[in-house]
């Protein structure tokens, strides 16, 4: 696939159809590639990569790219197209400045899972169907792909591209995902157990803001957490309002807008499963107000900008199953 995508990028640049290409650039190690803006065919030839570690959702960068002169081409995996569509719905991206190329995705890998297997010094990984041939500086090793698949990919919700200008490869379908299983598991715990779980997770947070910075729903001109006038910004540590409630407030800000792309958990240096908070909101919305997938249908009203006179009461949430 990398070859096809590179060729497409080069063709788009050469033909003058686009001025820049947004893609993934190889890093120092095989797994640490970064989103990058390619300006020439030569640069694409040299450093453009697409493999199991090209997990970054590039749609958010289009907010800034759309402000520049000229057209930018972007490669979007199926789940990324939901974010792209959602951003368009929110008028955050200049559509005419974007050339969106849908690309297939077979699931991305989680480097932490590989590390947990004791695999170090990865040179390359070759995907052979359900197996991965990992060559490291210590030799070769074969692992099952499903064992090292990122959680969001193991529970992939859709292989369908909701929006693109052209598509490479074949179109997939919306999948029947088991992504809510873990939420259910948490819901079945006692209140004390859940508190212990989240206290353990959230106490590790170092407030590096990586989750916010990577989130395609977090594109505010100025984030409320950076705005002294918002009443919730503060840089003082520990006991301040913002510190304690950062993740709840952030999740609430993206309710109905979060497409469940899973970037927040991918970039968290502390390995906090932040996506579970957002996913809980999604699960609740589906259960309370009918299935809703952000980014899927640009004409649909988001759950929090909609209502029904028959909506359940807040107290009813807890009556179920009691």
């Amino acid at each position: 696939m990398q070859k096809v995508i590179r060729e497409k990028a080069i063709e788009l640049l050469r033909s003058g159809k686009v001025d820049r290409v947004l893609g993934w650039k190889e890093g120092e190690f095989f797994y640490d590639q970064t989103p990058h803006l390619f300006l020439s065919p030569e640069e694409v030839e040299r450093t453009f990569v697409y493999n199991g570690f090209s997990g970054a959702n590039l749609s958010k960068y289009l907010v800034k790219e759309g402000l520049k002169e000229g057209v930018v081409a972007v490669f979007l995996k199926p789940c990324d197209t939901y974010s792209f569509s959602q951003l368009l719905k929110e008028h955050r991206i200049a559509r005419d400045k974007i050339w969106a190329v849908g690309i297939p995705c077979e699931g991305k890998l989680d480097i932490e899972l590989l590390r947990k297997m004791g695999i170090r010094g990865i040179k390359t990984i070759e995907e052979k169907g359900d197996e991965l041939l990992v060559s490291t500086i210590y030799g070769e090793k074969t692992v099952a792909k499903k064992d090292v698949l990122a959680e969001r990919c193991a529970n992939c919700k859709s292989r369908k591209h909701v929006l693109y200008d052209e598509l490479l490869g074949e179109e997939g379908e919306v999948l029947d995902s088991a992504r809510f299983d873990q939420i259910e598991k948490l819901e079945q715990m006692t209140s004390e157990e859940r508190f212990a779980f989240w206290q353990n997770e959230l106490s590790r947070c170092i407030r590096c803001n990586a989750c916010r910075n990577v989130c395609p729903a977090c594109t505010c001109e100025k984030c409320v957490f950076d705005n002294a006038d918002s009443g919730i910004a503060s840089k003082a540590p520990a006991s301040s309002f913002e510190e304690q409630n950062f993740h709840i407030i952030r999740a609430f800000h993206v309710v109905g807008r979060c497409t469940d792309c899973g970037e927040c958990s991918r970039v968290c240096p502390q390995g906090i499963p932040l996506h579970l908070i957002n996913r809980k909101f999604i699960k609740d919305i589906n259960a309370f107000y009918g299935a809703y997938q952000a980014g899927e249908n640009p004409d649909e009203r988001a759950p929090l900008t909609n209502y029904s006179t028959e909506d359940m009461e807040p107290g009813d949430v807890f009556k179920k199953g009691e």
Binding site: E90, H91, T219, C220, E221, K222, A302, L304
Partner: protein, 663 residues
């Protein structure tokens, strides 16, 4: 830093008996920013108000906190006092220490403690208060009435009578609406045309009223007092000014096979037509779907016979742009489509008709000249079955409506009574679920139908109507007798439910006026503001708001006119001061706020901004129209970026109150 004065009221013993007012005043006097404090027996009295005024002047106060009764009681009193002393009236906050403290607590210690906390919260809020001024906007002294039925006519006449200009937009070639199709009116049985047509003439002759017939509202911009409306005048291919309404063309037109909608398709008209004799304006209209000249270019008879030279085959739709201060929706109703009611054989037999069709058949100007004849063979029906509640009061999920259409009981009684009066040899059955006759002289009317005219009222629903050998076999149940009935009727009349006109929904979108699930317009308050839409400047007249009979429609139409006149009589509108406002620098332009605004007060504009790096950037930003915003604050919470805030109840003010209470 504000300079705040605290004024604690005893309210006689109402507060002072349970709250240690002196302790409250002293405690609050120690709060940062408080430069003056005082307690007094009756702060709302003239003497009390003078104390506030004097303190504002003497101590150069910038804000005041009054610890007293509920703000719902005296907030305005104290605001006026503050304004009289020279500070902005919105620099006053009330701590409610009577209704929400002294009156509900018995223990003086805890009540005093609570009063201090409530006072602190008010002080914390005043620290963040800013002077507010209510905006003003001018009022265009002209009203638009959408729909020219009896509701629109009555509203327009009343508004014009008060001296204001009114335009009526009617989508049909003539005004008059449904009432012009009705024969007699209950409960007085006077003829509809006799009471309606003089009103139509009044409209035509009124200098203040313009009629845009055969026209539709195309676009609406603006807000209360300042609407800009684009009206599409559909091409009627006849010059309205030149046409004298002589009707010669409608007699000579060779295309005779056009279903006549005025008679609900019971007879035919020509391709060029005047809907009925008393039409206003009395101007011919060419039906482009049937005119041979417009379709093939070969004919031109009407043009040849028209002495006035009014025919213009090249006419195109034109647009009129006009400004209005108020818009009245009077789009009316229609009987529902009965095609889905197979059990009543409406589609299968021409002798199964709707009540409105029955009106036309009994109308002297109708297809039968007023003689009751069966549509199928033109014979006198000897046995007629009326079925009420067809499509009304149905359970959800059916093809009908859940609501009661309100008018059917009365007009069915009218039809039954008139039939028996004119044709005493005709047997008349009425099947009903309930007979509902609340209204002046309504029940008496119904009882006359039963008692004097011998109409057979049967409680029960008709299960099936099947055409057999020229008869209509009606199978029904009599719930009171508990038996099945089989009636070989000659004519079956269905009291079809009524629903809002199809044009109402797109119009509501244009006006940002809200509707209920049945597409009836919602009123600003179901009891106290029944003729206004929640969207300021939009008023509701007639059945677009809910099913109504004629007297009720006219009453509501006049009420609506009174509200419009009240608005147009003002030169300027004073807006609510506590309105939402968006920070342009923070706004993402995401449109979320717009979607939750019940008033359509938020719009977006592309604006050029100079960025910190000295480049310019065009950004989409929200802007709130203070003339329309009512200050609910829904947008402030919907806004993800925190750009939207509310004057008088800002995020920081409310958080300051929270902090003060939770300290």
């Amino acid at each position: 830093m504000q300079r705040i004065g605290v004024f604690v009221c005893w309210c006689g013993s109402n507060i002072a008996a349970t709250v240690d007012v002196k302790a409250v005043a002293e405690a609050l006097g120690k709060e940062p920013g408080v430069v003056y404090f005082e307690d007094y027996q009756y702060m709302c009295s003239e003497e009390g108000q003078n104390k506030i005024k004097n303190a504002i002047r003497d101590y150069k106060l910038t804000g005041a906190v009054i610890c007293s009764c509920s703000p719902r009681m005296h907030e305005n009193t104290f605001r006026k006092a503050a304004a009289a002393a020279g500070i902005n009236s919105f620099m006053v906050e009330i701590a409610n220490i009577r209704e929400q403290c002294s009156w509900i607590h018995k223990d003086k210690v805890s009540a005093t403690e609570k009063a201090i906390i409530l006072g602190r919260a008010a002080i914390a809020k005043v620290h963040l208060n800013a002077p507010l001024t209510a905006g003003e906007s001018p009022v265009v002294k002209r009203a638009l009435v959408i729909g020219g039925g009896i509701a629109g006519i009555q509203t327009a006449l009343d508004i014009a009578d008060a001296g204001f200009e009114v335009d009526i937009v009617e989508k049909k070639p003539t005004i008059g609406g449904k009432m012009s199709q009705i024969d007699k009116t209950f409960p007085t049985l006077d003829c509809a045309a006799c009471i309606l047509t003089p009103k139509m003439v009044d409209v035509a002759q009124n200098e203040k009223i313009r009629i845009f017939s055969y026209s539709e509202v195309d676009a609406v911009k603006g807000f209360v007092g300042n609407f800009k409306v684009s009206i599409r005048r559909k091409a009627r291919f006849v010059d309205e000014v030149k046409c004298t309404g002589c009707g010669l063309c409608t007699e000579k037109c060779p295309q005779k096979k056009v279903p006549n909608e005025f008679n609900l398709g019971l007879d035919q008209r020509r391709a060029i037509y005047i809907p009925f004799a008393q039409a206003v304006p009395k101007v011919a209209t060419i039906d482009a779907d049937y005119c041979t000249m417009l379709k093939t270019g070969k004919c031109g008879v009407c043009s040849k016979v028209c002495a006035a030279g009014a025919i213009d085959y090249k006419q195109k739709d034109t647009f009129v742009e006009e400004e209005y201060g108020a818009i009245v929706v009077a789009t009316g109703f229609n009987p529902i489509e009965l095609k889905k009611y197979d059990e009543f054989a409406y589609s299968q037999s021409p002798d199964v008709i709707t009540s409105l069709e029955f009106e036309r058949i009994t109308n002297a100007a109708g297809p039968t000249g007023g003689t009751l004849l069966r549509p199928s063979d033109g014979t006198h029906p000897k046995k007629i079955v009326f079925v009420q509640c067809v499509g009304s009061r149905e359970d959800g999920g059916g093809c009908g409506k859940t609501y009661c259409s309100k008018i059917c009981c009365m007009y069915t009684a009218k039809h039954a009574m008139l039939t028996r009066e004119k044709y005493p040899d005709t047997e008349v059955y009425v099947f009903y679920i309930d007979v509902r006759t609340p209204g002046k002289s309504f029940d008496e009317f119904y009882r006359r139908a039963v008692e004097e005219y011998g109409v057979h009222y049967v409680k029960g629903m008709v299960g099936k109507v099947s055409p057999e050998n020229g008869k209509l076999m009606v199978r029904a149940s009599d719930l009171i007798e508990g038996k099945q009935l089989n009636i070989d009727a000659d004519l079956v009349v269905l009291a079809a439910a009524i629903e809002p006109d199809q044009s109402a929904r797109p119009l509501a979108t244009m006006l940002t006026a809200s509707m209920d699930t049945n597409d009836f317009f919602t009123e600003a308050h179901p009891k106290l503001r029944p003729v206004e839409s929640p969207t300021a400047g939009i008023f509701l007249s007639g059945c677009c708001q809910g099913p109504k009979d004629i007297p009720e429609t006219v009453a509501q139409a006049s009420a609506c006119a009174a509200k419009v006149i009240g608005l147009l009589a003002k030169d300027k509108l004073t807006c609510n001061a506590c309105v939402a406002h968006s920070s342009e620098m923070l706004c993402n332009g995401c449109s979320t706020c717009e979607k939750v605004c019940p008033y359509g007060a938020i719009s977006y504009e592309e604006k050029e901004f100079r960025m910190p790096d000295r480049t310019t950037r065009v950004r989409r930003v929200a802007s709130v129209n203070p003339a329309v915003c009512q200050g609910c604050g829904a947008c402030t919470v919907a806004c993800p970026s925190g750009a939207m805030d509310l004057h008088g109840f800002s995020n920081r003010q409310i958080m300051a109150e929270v902090d003060a209470i939770c300290k």
